[in-house]
Assembly symmetry: C2
Homo-oligomer: 208 residues x 2
């Protein structure tokens, strides 16, 4: 056998997905053409079709994996907090999500808002709905416990997804331009406060 594992342990399909993931992280889905992906994977363009149905197949898989990892991290962070404290769960969700987004380079942008084609838009819907579902559950519970005022939990959830996403990836956000590493905490705190107020959480930890 030749080199390290060029065609060995990993498997061509995995190499394609890894290469595509790297490109998406660096530059978004728009840069993940057949040529770019196969070049990064160190193979010829045609070989993609031996190991995947199409470039959209590969990119959809990349989206599922990245989005799934983000969602899982957030879900885990939320579940680490007692369900009884809806406010703390909400804070955990926002902090985890925002922290990962701010440190993940272009990935959050690619997953949340980058214009992409049909194949991936459907994945995106699942992704956003995943967050909205978690949020809706938290809001529902908070209402039951009397922590949050009566409201349409699903609409609030959608609104929070939009608010967090826009604050983190929109044209006015730190991610759009350069931003100070040190600012990250301040930004996360501001988003958290915004969302806590939005659901009507009573206890809001103020900082001087």
């Amino acid at each position: 056998m030749g080199g390290t594992d060029a065609a060995g342990a990993t498997g061509r399909r995995q190499e394609l997905i890894d290469a595509a993931t790297g490109i998406v992280r660096d530059a978004g889905f728009g840069a993940a053409s057949v040529k770019a992906v196969t070049a990064r994977a160190g193979m010829s363009a045609g070989l993609l079709y031996t190991y995947a149905g199409s470039i959209d197949d590969v990119l959809a898989e990349v989206f599922r994996r990245c989005a799934g990892a983000e969602l899982a991290a957030v879900d885990q962070a939320v579940l680490a907090v007692p369900a009884a404290d809806a406010t703390a769960r909400l804070v955990a969700l926002i902090e985890t999500f925002a922290d990962r987004a701010l440190r993940g380079g272009r990935l959050a942008w690619a997953l949340l808002v980058e214009p992409v084609g049909r194949a991936i838009d459907e994945e995106r819907l699942t992704y956003r709905r995943g967050y909205a579902d978690i949020l809706a559950e938290i809001v529902e519970r908070g209402m039951q416990d009397g922590r949050f005022p009566r409201q349409d939990a699903r609409l609030t959830a959608a609104g929070l997804v939009g608010a967090i996403g826009e604050a983190l990836t929109g044209p006015l956000s730190p991610l759009a331009s350069e931003y100070d590493e040190a600012d990250a905490d301040a930004i996360i705190r501001a988003i958290t406060q915004l969302c806590l107020r939005a659901v009507g959480a009573e206890r809001i930890e103020e900082e001087p």
Copy 2:
């Protein structure tokens, strides 16, 4: 001269823009190809290039006009309310924006979130920033008057743009599926409450 005004008063460029606007309203920018636009305008494809530099030129102009009209309507509604009452201004903004979006068919979706190419994405940035600017001013004023708690006005503004946009156009929103004409008011009310809470407005009109 021949027909009504086929090549008369209106001007070819205007006809192109009108045709493109109609298509965007009906089906979004994705449907506004050269062929579709020129066909709707009743002229041949090639003529587009006599009266516009490119299809992107035409679509960017359509975007500017539609977005400008929406923004102007919202701005007008906001200015109709005394600046001293930041809460009322915020309500006016949301109600005007949401009402127009819910009644405007696909237009709101096209302007806010439809995936489009570069030429138009820059226009979109201006559009969203326009709303964010108005919102930031309202939030700023509300803080000065002690109606809203201390917060990062620009971040709140971005968050509100995201929340309103997602609630109205997101996968979880009424616009994604069919929705009852009668529900529109309830939706608008829910979004309003959400945003009022988000900025920390004290007086929130409850309804039983």
